[in-house]
């Protein structure tokens, strides 16, 4: 007997741009563009880039082989020198976070869940294609353990051995050897040799990108700010996957526009807007939740210490003798010595960097984001808080993850923090004036 009310309903395939996953990116991007006034014109390139890659799922092209990286400690200059293209795989999508949660421990960090969730899917967005190799520096615990998981998913994974102690000469030697080993591995992968010209060309690319970033960084010193943090995060997030030469040109164009803004005395925020330094677990598109909340509430993120922005592009390499071995060793040093990631045993350098940023950028307060499950950032909170307390700088600690549920409560806390910062500043000025 047939029951007409029950039948098999075929699964409709919907184009990516109408999927919920795309919706997540769409919402955030629309918010970034429409809910703020006077976006710089040069930002249009970046808005369009994210729309095409994250909302429409368009392909991201690359030259040569594709080497995925899971951490900024993977020396991208080496990858470029071998004619391959590096792309950062770290993912910011709640959709993939939920996918990753199916096989990852519930208390893991959202970033790793999202990255693994993405790698485990059939339709990987951004559409970069399957990496020929994934370089996984052994930095934080979660990354370390995800190495074999990625291998099981069918990717070729290379463990780049990274030291846990920053200060010792032994670590330095270890890391230099590790980088040289990586170069050997790349040679086997690409079948090319590492030449002086190739390496110099790679240095040129990243050097130019870093110089452009430094200029952009310096424009944020101005008070009142001429550009909002949400745009800067978008620019640096684009570096993950965009073509480096084109990215650099667009940032240089942005710098030109910012110079014009500076000359014209343009204000992107009210003069009393609280200036915030953002530090901690990296905001990756579309999870720009916290910076957006700060700027919606009237604050402005003037500087940051996170690996999806400042730390990725700030430090520059100095080379004494432009021969291959000196260049490779200099590169190794640049990736290790100034690194302020909390994965090290001690992190005096991070505290000093934060205090220096607060001072140079005239920040009124600090927002410290830690993803739930990111043990290193969570544990380092105490010593950073003490340092800021002694220096009399207000700090707000937010433990959160990729889920949008806590936006309402977070906005209250952030507003209260900004109000408190404003009051403090007023009192200081009244006391001084």
């Amino acid at each position: 007997m047939t029951n007409e009310t029950s039948k098999v309903i075929p699964i409709q395939s919907i184009p990516y741009s109408r999927s919920r996953q795309a919706g997540e990116s769409q919402d955030v991007l629309d918010h970034i563009i429409d809910d703020f006034h006077d976006n710089p014109e040069s930002m249009q390139y970046f808005y369009d880039l994210f729309r095409s890659v994250y909302c429409h799922g368009e392909e991201v092209k690359h030259e040569g082989m594709l080497v995925g990286t899971t951490c900024i400690q993977a020396p991208e200059e080496l990858i470029y020198a071998f004619g391959a293209t590096p792309m950062r795989l770290c993912n910011g999508s709640y959709h993939y976070d939920q996918k990753g949660a199916e096989f990852m421990p519930s208390k893991s960090c959202s970033l790793v869940k999202a990255t693994l969730g993405m790698l485990n899917s059939d339709n990987v967005i951004p559409k970069i294609g399957k990496p020929d190799m994934i370089v996984n520096p052994t930095t934080c615990d979660q990354k370390k353990k995800s190495s074999s998981m990625m291998g099981d998913m069918g990717y070729k994974v290379y463990d780049l051995e990274f030291p846990n102690v920053k200060e010792s000469e032994a670590s330095r030697q270890y890391w230099q050897r590790s980088v040289r080993q990586f170069a050997t591995e790349l040679r086997q992968l690409t079948g090319r040799k590492l030449t002086k010209k190739g390496l110099q060309a790679a240095f040129n690319k990243t050097g130019r990108a870093q110089a452009a970033f430094r200029k952009l960084h310096s424009y944020r010193l101005l008070s009142p700010s001429i550009i909002l943090g949400k745009d800067i995060f978008l620019v640096t997030n684009a570096y993950f996957f965009d073509d480096i030469t084109r990215w650099t040109e667009k940032v240089e164009a942005l710098n030109v526009e910012l110079e014009a803004r500076k000359q014209a005395g343009f204000k992107a925020v009210q003069s009393k807007a609280p200036r915030v330094l953002f530090t901690g677990s990296p905001p990756i598109f579309p999870n720009l939740k916290l910076p957006l909340l700060i700027e919606e509430a009237g604050g402005v993120v003037v500087a940051d210490e996170s690996c999806s922005a400042n730390r990725m592009l700030y430090d520059m390499t100095a080379v004494d003798e432009w021969m291959v071995n000196d260049m490779v060793d200099s590169l190794a040093d640049k990736y290790l010595k100034p690194c302020t990631c909390p994965i090290f045993t001690k992190n005096e350098d991070r505290k000093r960097r934060l205090l220096d940023l607060v001072k140079s950028f005239n920040a009124d307060g600090v927002v410290y984001q830690a993803f739930s499950g990111c043990q290193v950032y969570e544990m380092e909170y105490r010593s950073v808080a003490e340092a800021f307390n002694q220096a009399g700088i207000p700090m707000l600690y937010v433990e959160t993850d990729y889920s949008p549920d806590d936006k309402g409560q977070l906005s209250t806390r952030i507003e209260a923090f900004l109000e408190s910062m404003k009051n403090r500043k007023k009192q200081k000025q009244r006391a001084a004036g």
């Binding site: 040129n204 050097g207 310096s218 520059m316 010595k337 100034p338 000093r352």
Partner: protein, 328 residues
């Protein structure tokens, strides 16, 4: 005031290596050939303007007269005649404080020769060698030992313990003695003196050190400077000097770029974030570290407190760009 800013920017963005190259040529010409033009800067120079370069030199290295004085019989040494030594030291001191150890980094002919040998090595594409941490710590003491011996052996001669043949013991082993006169086409120092056993030993030692000097300078940058007693003597007075190497610890990211380019492998420039005066006993004040620092204001060279060469972002970027494209 804008003019001052422009000058400052131009100085900070200078192509440092080229600037240093030409400044070194200038001092080399002055000290090694100055005599041709009748230039005589005196016998108290704080650098290896070698006394053995008899005809052409534009001034003399202080260590030669110093060792001569130390040889005086003790009755003379500890008498009123010692005022000469005091006078000599004062002139030496006055010359010294003008450039601090910049005398080593920019003026010393032997230093300049080593830099030329380094350029030769670079041209061949051979890489330089570095000391390991253990070697570095152990060998660093040698310059102080040599300085001590430079005083003690002549004293011993004056006191009647050592033969007179041990006069100017440091000059005998200094590579300056054999190498600098070469530039006047004078090879008279390239021989072993068989007149006495001591002379034979000392001159053989001298040639051995010269050989080591060439090999060492080829594989290491500024090889001899690590062992130089003149440098040690400098360091004793360096706190009083006008030219200083200063650091602002708060601005330092400990990126180690300065350490990487330092010829003398000095780690303290990168790691010390407490002290303002960052000069150690090995530093030759070549200022390569300042040129290689990307953090504005973290490192600077000051003269009498006024910053004359500072680390800047723009300077760093310009210099690294040129280095890359120059293919040096």
């Amino acid at each position: 005031m804008t003019n001052l800013e422009d000058i400052r920017t131009a100085v900070n963005n200078v192509q440092f290596n080229r600037f240093r190259f030409w400044l070194q040529i200038f001092f080399f010409a002055l000290l090694v050939y100055g005599g041709y033009l009748g230039i005589e800067l005196g016998k108290h120079l704080p650098t290896f303007a070698c006394g053995y370069n008899k005809e052409l030199r534009g001034g003399m290295c202080f260590l030669m007269p110093l060792q001569h004085w130390m040889e005086w019989p003790w009755e003379k040494l500890f008498s009123a005649a010692a005022l000469t030594i005091l006078y000599g030291f004062t002139i030496f001191f006055l010359w010294f404080i003008a450039l601090n150890r910049g005398w080593c980094g920019f003026a010393c002919p032997v230093g300049t020769i080593q830099d030329w040998i380094t350029s030769l090595r670079r041209w061949t594409g051979i890489r330089y060698s570095r000391y390991s941490e253990g070697q570095y710590k152990g060998l660093g003491i040698i310059k102080w030992v040599l300085l001590a011996l430079m005083f003690l052996i002549p004293l011993g001669i004056g006191g009647g313990w050592f033969t007179h043949d041990l006069k100017s013991p440091f000059c005998m082993i200094c590579p300056g003695r054999t190498v600098v006169p070469l530039f006047g086409l004078d090879v008279s120092q390239w021989s072993i003196d068989f007149s006495s056993r001591t002379n034979m030993i000392m001159t053989s030692l001298g040639l051995l050190v010269t050989g080591l000097f060439f090999i060492g300078a080829f594989v290491k940058k500024r090889f001899f400077c690590f062992y130089c007693p003149m440098g040690a003597l400098h360091y004793l007075f360096s706190k009083a000097a006008l030219l200083r190497l200063n650091k602002e610890g708060a601005k330092c990211t400990r990126c180690g770029d300065c350490y990487r380019v330092c010829d003398l492998q000095i780690k303290e420039i990168a790691d010390d974030i407490q002290n303002k005066n960052i000069m150690t006993d090995d530093c030759i004040m070549c200022l390569k570290c300042v040129a290689a620092c990307p953090e504005p204001g973290a490192l600077k060279a000051t003269f009498a407190g006024i910053p004359i060469f500072e680390a800047t972002e723009a300077g760093f970027i310009t210099r690294m760009n040129k280095g890359r494209t120059d293919d040096k």
